[in-house]
Symmetry: C2
Subunit: 323 residues, 2 copies
C-alpha cells in the first residue's frame, strides 16, 4: 500500500523559499504562511503555487460497536440523515465549502452496513477492506483538484478512532477517549470499556495497516486510502480532526514519510487530537475548539492555504516592483 | 468622539445563539465560530447573519521620528512605494483580499507629510488630528460593506504603537518595543530610547485621545476614527496586529464598550501584541506568527467569520431538516 511514494519537488519548494525572502514585504513577515506556500509548491511541482480548485471528500459509514452499545449521543440512523444533508449541500461542511470555493463529494462507504463490533471481531474483513480502499482510490483518481480536504461522518466513530490511537500510539487507553459529539458520563464509561476491550483483543497485531482493518472502520479506512492515493497524484491534503488524524496514523507508522503531503487544518476539542498531533509533530493551522468532523475544521483552513500561495505567486519581488 | 455609541442588537444575537443549538450538528460543535456568528448578528441586527461584502481600509502615513532617527529596517520612502502597490492591487493584502472576496481601499493620510517627532513634540496638531479623523470617518461613511478590516502602513510606525501602548497600558516600556519589520540590535536600542523619551514627555497627560494625538500618528489616528465610525454604522470590525490594536487602545480606555464591535483577526509575532490582547481580553482568531501589518492578519481571518455566519444561516435546524 505504501511502496514507492513520490517525494515533493525540492527544487520548486526551494524556489518559493527564495522568492518568499524577496517578495514585497519584510522578509519572514508571513512566517508559517510562506512555509505553507513552499509545501504546496513542492507537491504541485511549480514555483508559482496556487489553490484554485479545492475539493473535499467526506466518507461516511456505520459502526457495529455503535449499533450494539450506546457509545454515542446519537442513534446510528443519523449517519444516513447527515449523508443526505451533504448530498443536498445543506450541511455545515457544504456551507463552509461554498465560502472556500471548494467542491464537496460525500461518499457512502458503509452506511447501513455496519462494521464488525470491534470489541469482539475485526471491523472489516480483508475483502471489505480492499473494496473500500479501491473505492476511495477511485474517488481520488477522478478528482479535478489542487488541494484535498478529507473528512468523515459515522455515528460512533470516535470509538474506533480512540482504539486506533491507543493501539498504535500507546499510553493510557482512557486518555484517548473523549465525549465525541457529546456523550454523557455513562456513555463515556461504556466507550472507554469498548476501546479497552478492542485494544486488548488485538494486542498481538503489529502491522499498523492490520490494526486499521481490525479496529478502524469503513470511513477511517477510506480516509487512509484516499490520503495515499492523493500522495500518488502529488495532491496536497488538509487533514481534519481526531477521526481523520487517527485514520492516517497507521500510514505514518508504516512509512515515516507517508504524511509529508499532509497538513493539519485544525486542532479539535476532542482531547485525543492534540495528543495525536504532538505525536505526529504537526502543528494545526487553526485552534478554534471545533469538534464537528465532516471535514469542517480542515475546510476552515483552506482559505489560509490559498492566501499563502497567492502571497507568493501574486505579489512581485522588490526587484520586480522597483526594477 | 465616543458619545452615544450604539449597542448590538441583543435580540438578534440571542436568536442566533438559540439557532446554533438547533442547527444540524451536535450542539456546541462549532464553539467559537457560533459565537462569531452571534456577534455579527448583533451588529447586523438580523438573525441570519452573513458576510458577503468584506472591505479593507488601509491607512498610510509617515512618521517624523522615523525620518529623524533610524528606528526601522526600511527608509521612510518605502511607505509611498507600498502605497502604490496597494493601489495597483500588487501587495500581500491585495492578494489576500482577492481570496477573501474583499475590496481594498488604501487611504493616504500623511505620506510625505511626516508627523512631529514624538520624542520632542506632538505627532499631530489638533487641526491635523481633526482633519485625519474627518477623512477616516468619511471613508467609512462611503463603504458598501458588511465586515470591515482595518490595516495600516507607515515605516517606523511600531515606534508610536509602542509609545501609545506604554503610555496607556503601563508596565516596563521596553517590553512594548519589538523589532517591527526587522530592525537590528542598534536600531532596537534607538527605538526603545525614542519610545521612553516620548512616554516621559507626555507623562502628565491623562486623556487617552490626547495621548493618541501626542504619540500616535496619522494612520493610527485614522484607524481609531474609522473604528468609531464603523460602530456608528453598526459595522463589525476585524482588527489586525500590533499597530492597529494599539491605535484602538485609547478608545477602550476612554469608553469601556468602545470595542464591542471589534474582534482581533490574529496575534502578531511583535511581542507587544499578545500583551495588548491580554489587556483587552480579546482572543485572536489566528496565531500564525505573522508580522506584516497592512491588514493582512485580519484579512486572513475574514473567511472564518464568513463561514461562521454561513454555518448558522445556510444550515437547517434538526427540526427543519427532519420535520
Amino acid at each position: 500500500m505504501l511502496q514507492g511514494l513520490p517525494a515533493a519537488d525540492a527544487v520548486a519548494a526551494a524556489a518559493v523559499h527564495e522568492r518568499a525572502a524577496q517578495v514585497l514585504r519584510p522578509s519572514g513577515a508571513l512566517a508559517w504562511l510562506d512555509e505553507l506556500a513552499e509545501w504546496v509548491a513542492g507537491w504541485h511541482r511549480t514555483d508559482r503555487p496556487k489553490v484554485e480548485r479545492p475539493a473535499a471528500l467526506i466518507f461516511a459509514g456505520d459502526h457495529g460497536v455503535a449499533a450494539a452499545e450506546a457509545v454515542s449521543a446519537y442513534p446510528t440512523t443519523v449517519t444516513a440523515a447527515m449523508f443526505e444533508a451533504y448530498r443536498q449541500g445543506r450541511s455545515t461542511i457544504s456551507a463552509f465549502a461554498r465560502q472556500a470555493g471548494a467542491s464537496v463529494d460525500a461518499v457512502d462507504v458503509g452506511i447501513g452496513r455496519p462494521t464488525g463490533d470491534i470489541r469482539f471481531e475485526a471491523a472489516l474483513t480483508p475483502e471489505r477492506f480492499e473494496e473500500i480502499v479501491e473505492l476511495a482510490v477511485a474517488k481520488v483518481g477522478r478528482l479535478d483538484a489542487d488541494l484535498l480536504v478529507l473528512g468523515e461522518m459515522g455515528i460512533g466513530n470516535t470509538t474506533p478512532a480512540a482504539a486506533l490511537s491507543a493501539a498504535l500510539a500507546g499510553g493510557e487507553t482512557a486518555a484517548w477517549v473523549g465525549r465525541g459529539t457529546g456523550v454523557d458520563d455513562a456513555g463515556l464509561a461504556r466507550k472507554r470499556a469498548a476501546v479497552q476491550q478492542a485494544v486488548r483483543r488485538i494486542a498481538g497485531i503489529t502491522d499498523p495497516i492490520e490494526v486499521l482493518r481490525e479496529v478502524g472502520g469503513a470511513e477511517l479506512t477510506a480516509v487512509a486510502a484516499a490520503t495515499v492515493a492523493a500522495r500518488r497524484r502529488s495532491l496536497p491534503v488538509v487533514l481534519d480532526g481526531y477521526v481523520v488524524t487517527s485514520s492516517v496514523l497507521p500510514l505514518v507508522m508504516a512509512e515515516r514519510t507517508a504524511l509529508d503531503h499532509c497538513i493539519v487544518g485544525h486542532c479539535s476539542a476532542e482531547p485525543g487530537h492534540r495528543r495525536l498531533l504532538d505525536r505526529l509533530g504537526k502543528r494545526p493551522l487553526l485552534d478554534l475548539d471545533m469538534r464537528l468532523g465532516e471535514g469542517s475544521g480542515a475546510m476552515a483552513a483552506v482559505p489560509l492555504v490559498a492566501m499563502a500561495c497567492a502571497g507568493i505567486s501574486e505579489v512581485p519581488t522588490f526587484a520586480e516592483w522597483f526594477g
